[in-house]
Subunit: 313 residues, 2 copies
């Protein structure tokens, strides 16, 4: 499938083999440097400031004329500033003569507003993806996007890198034969991928409300948690409420240990405390966004680098 | 010239005469309501919230199918959030079937980064204008943009409404035969327009540095300020430093009174205090951005409404 996507923007004359610039913008969390090292590419950090009135200033401090440029910018909070800075940089790199522009947004904001849940709503992710394309990106690489199908709004080549590989690798030496749980049926493919790497079984959580007591129960659809090491996996942890409820009930129902793993640890307010209080032994996330203290961070950079090298290989 | 621009997007079948929706977004400073009233159009306020993680949510609460929609959004601080919200709204309105989309950004951020002052710089205003177009705007109306020529980056119809008219009208009953000064030669057309409306003469300020003492002098190029009522006009007051220095020296050189007038009162930090301390009698700005306490605000809405009615007339 990757092959199919690649032919859309690449032809054989594109990649000279060893010239590539990895340009880190204002919100990379170190991923840019790791990608550059893995690819043996030049690592360049954008020149940046914010004017007294609040406008951002972006300058590309090296010549990118006729170069393959990989722009790395995550879009965590303040999302809109990081997005606008990304657009400014893409257009500048294009204007300055880059041969190809590959944009890497480890965390892409606005991905959850992927349809009109109510009439009249903006499909925000569509606008964001179209703006990135319009500014001049040929290829877009994201990590563990909420719904992969939204990438069709980006009319160039768009690739979703799974974060489950990096997370599962971390857990390999830590847990044996775990039960991997997705918070809902839509997220089941994540649990499946994770379970296949680590060697365990997987299921999704089903929420039911007791008709008499009104109590909400969150349980795996078919597999019992009794005596099991449980890893609950998700793309995003925001408030952590769903994750905390699932963990608490898994422990009540006899799970031996519960771990939480996610790609993007947005962690609004006291999300981490909520998870710890629910009895979760360890919270693991990737480095697509800076993680709060206490959360273990694993890097997705090698997987992004591999994707880039396959694109240009 | 307006005529030339209009034919690009309008044909005779466009405007049914009385159906138009003016949609106010999240940063209008009341201009949306005034425009709607002047045009006898429906005034609609966007539904809006910010999620706990910081992402904006935009919903158009009325049907815009087959309608002429005027979207009003100024882009003062936080500029990037207001810009992203504008893009989300444009795309939604377009998706929802609007017949035409006219975007009014009374203050358009990033307009001063209009060229590469140094190699490698982003031409920020180009990216902003292209993004607005790409999202789906047919027509763009701005007020007193820093350099009008940048509007060519917007490939639809783009119109710059002068703020000098509203400002000069305010001063008409206040001052007689003033000397209208632009802070530099590039801004001279603003002073000229202002002076022609109010009936006075105009000049621009020249900065010279004394070779021996190093003292910086700011004086009109040819006309003496002695005994004159002086109005210094500019597009933006940000720190107010240039304006304060010019006012102070005008008063030292015998000006009777000094007024400051601008389109966009960004007023970083203690800009207003700086101007008052320099002896400026009154600071007047338009309502393209909310003005700080003490600054007189005059409305540009009637001039924007007039431009829209000419477009659709």
């Amino acid at each position: 499938m990757l092959e199919d996507k690649v032919v859309k923007v690449l032809d054989t004359s594109y990649y000279p083999g060893n010239i590539m610039i990895v340009l880190g913008l204002t919100a990379t969390n170190g991923v840019d440097k790791e990608i550059a090292e893995a690819l043996k590419a030049s690592h360049v950090v954008v020149e940046h400031k914010v004017f007294p009135d609040g406008e951002s200033y972006i300058r590309i401090p090296v010549s990118v004329d006729n170069e393959h440029v990989v722009i790395v910018q995550s879009t965590y909070k303040p999302q809109d500033k990081h997005l606008v800075e990304l657009l400014l940089a893409i257009e500048a790199v294009k204007d300055l003569g880059a041969k190809t522009i590959t944009v890497v947004t480890p965390y892409l904001a606005y991905a959850r507003q992927d349809k009109r849940f109510r009439t009249g709503e903006a499909i925000s992710i569509k606008t964001i993806l179209r703006s990135i394309r319009c500014a001049g990106a040929d290829t877009l690489i994201v990590v563990e996007i909420h719904k992969e199908h939204v990438l069709t709004y980006f009319t160039g080549t768009a690739i979703n890198v799974s974060a489950m590989d990096a997370l599962a690798e971390y857990f390999k030496d830590k847990v044996e034969n775990p039960l991997v749980l997705a918070p809902d049926t839509g997220a089941l493919p994540r649990a499946k991928r994770f379970a296949e790497i680590i060697g365990g079984d997987y299921d999704y959580l089903e929420k039911t409300r007791d008709r008499i007591t009104g109590e909400v129960k969150v349980r795996p659809k078919t597999i019992s948690v009794k005596g099991r090491v449980v890893v609950i996996v998700d793309d995003i942890i925001s408030t952590g409420k769903t994750m905390a409820l699932a963990a608490k009930q898994a422990l009540e129902n006899g799970a031996r240990e519960v771990y939480a793993a996610c790609a993007h640890a947005l962690f609004v307010d006291d999300a981490y405390e909520r998870l710890k209080k629910a009895g979760i032994r360890e919270v693991v996330a990737t480095n697509t966004v800076p993680v709060p203290k206490g959360v273990v961070s694993v890097s997705v950079a090698p997987y992004i680098a591999k994707t880039i090298s396959e694109l240009y290989g």
